[in-house]
Amino acid sequence: MTDLPVRTEKKLGLLIDLDICVGCHACAVACKEWNDGGQFGPLTDEDPYGAEPMGVWFNRVHSYTVDPAVPQESGHCGASSPPAGPAGRLGLSLHFPRSCLHCEQAACVTVCPTGASYKRAEDGIVLVDYDRCIGCKLCSWACPYGAREYDQAQGVMKKCTLCVDRIYNESLPEADRQPACVLACPTGARAFGDFADPSSVVSTRSAGRDPQALMPELGYEPTNRYLPPRPRRDQTPEAKADDTLNPAELPTVLRWLDRMLSR
């Protein structure tokens, strides 16, 4: 069972737009809420009100600052004209949700000694059978993305299920048959769909945006893709220099008006 399927019919996954994500953690909280109950719950918390609370989450949001060191030809988040030097260069903040990428070459599946970890041939979702898992934690060692967490109370490994109990749930209205994180995202930074289908929302939304796989050099071929931030408007001192108006030459009232309107 820990053999990977030769090919999967669908490649269900998430598209995360890093240009839109504001780092509000709504996806992480909604994920915790949904998966704490139902088919894959609970996501146990240890010492929840104590000194060192710790618990199982499938989704974690890190925040980084990016200092584009050199202008990028491909245009990802680099200045579009040569930077003016460290002081004039504009950095950006990057909010980065991290969860299971449902890799095509999922090492967490092949290292599993019991067959508890498996990748579904029909849709590519990677799941854990809690009844077979012995809790050896080797899958968490094999995953470069930190997607698997150990549930101390239940003694098994847990991971993002892509809300498999939502997306196929026919008792839900069709619009709600999406992962909880996607529905919760207030900015629409997340999309769910079939990467194998060129007409799916994840494929159309990535058109022209160069969707990225994480750590592609390791060869796990993650299904989930991230859209890098769009190039910023150039705000270096040189870029502002084409503004030929010199406020100092204006009459007082206009100078005041210019100052107000320039804010």
Binding site: A28, V111, A142, D151, V156, L218, Y226
Partner: protein, 319 residues
């Protein structure tokens, strides 16, 4: 990586046990002069079985559901952990048959094929244990061609050292120059190769950058601004373990002191003291084991999992 006591005990105890089985499997059928005392074979094999069983039981302590451990034999096609389990159980077959030969229940000439089979099974089990770690692309320190030979060398070194007190007890009239030198050489070679490996890895290990980990092109200087959680998570406790990277050199010196200097010196002392019961052989074995134990602790603690790149503070050394 956070070094779990259960996993260190598993790899070092079972390694010593399988090392004993390898030496015994090669020694018993082919050793002629002077004749080996009967008790030596029986008790060394019993010691090996106890060490291997203790190691395997210790590995169960690492599991969330040890009562389901039998399921781990099923995935030998892809999982080195599963292969290790299958071979570990299989090795009990030639080991117990060898014991029956030594106890006189089976014909002695069976040793001619049982011995090599025992040695081969034990060696393959040790290699499978090593491959559990050496197959992980996520831990560049482990995905190194020297990891598997090192596991085998440490098993052979502890095995060679562990059999000496038993041999000395059953045949105090022997001058143990030859097996003592073998143990000393095995310890020396194992620790020196490990020293060279650590030196080589220090310069050559490369892991994905944080830019690559968040899907940005190389060249972007990405720095952690705010962590995903204020307290530890399973991932930070298990994978982002920093203690050893701070104290690695004194730890490795302790391993070398125990494994080469103390164990080697005690072996030298014991073998030069002439015939008689020499407690130094026992102490040498204990120090050799301590050296390998420290080394194994470092093997886990020093290894840097690539997921730690997501958690690194800008001011933290990459180590």
């Amino acid at each position: 990586m956070n070094p779990a006591l259960s996993v260190i005990a598993f790899t070092t105890l079972s390694g010593a046990g399988y090392g004993l089985m390898i030496w015994l499997g090669l020694l018993l059928p082919f050793h002629r002069q002077p004749p080996l005392p009967a008790g030596f074979g029986i008790w060394t094999l019993l010691l090996a079985l106890v060490l291997v069983s203790a190691g395997l039981l210790a590995s169960l302590a690492h599991l969330g559901h040890p009562e389901r451990a039998w399921r781990a034999f099923s995935q030998w096609r892809t999982s080195w952990l599963s292969r290790e389990g299958v071979l570990a159980v299989w090795t009990f077959v030639p080991a117990l048959l060898t014991l029956l030969v030594l106890l006189g229940y089976l014909p002695p000439h069976w040793l001619l094929w049982l011995g090599p089979l025992l040695a081969l099974s034990a060696a393959l089990t040790v290699l499978c244990t090593a491959m559990i770690y050496a197959s992980l692309k996520t831990v560049p320190h482990w995905r190194d061609w020297r990891v598997a030979p090192l596991y085998l060398l440490f098993a052979l070194a502890t095995g060679a050292t562990f059999q000496l007190p038993v041999l000395n007890y059953f045949a105090p009239e022997f001058l143990l120059k030859m097996p003592t030198t073998t143990a000393q050489v095995a310890l020396f070679v194992a620790f020196v190769l490990r020293y060279l490996q650590r030196r080589a890895l220090r310069d050559s290990v490369s892991a994905p950058s944080l830019a690559s980990a968040v899907g940005l092109p190389e060249g972007n200087a990405v720095k952690l601004f705010e962590g995903a959680h204020t307290e530890d998570s399973f991932i930070t406790r298990e994978m982002v373990f920093r203690f050893a990277r701070k104290h690695r050199e004194p730890m490795f010196l302790a391993a070398l002191a125990c494994g080469i200097a103390l164990a080697g010196g005690l072996l030298e002392h014991a073998s030069n003291a002439g015939p008689g019961i020499r407690p130094s052989f026992l102490f040498a074995a204990l120090f050799a084991y301590a050296g390998v134990f420290f080394e194994r602790w470092l093997f886990f603690a020093e290894a840097r999992h690539v997921v730690s790149v997501y958690f690194e503070r800008p001011d933290a050394g990459r180590g």
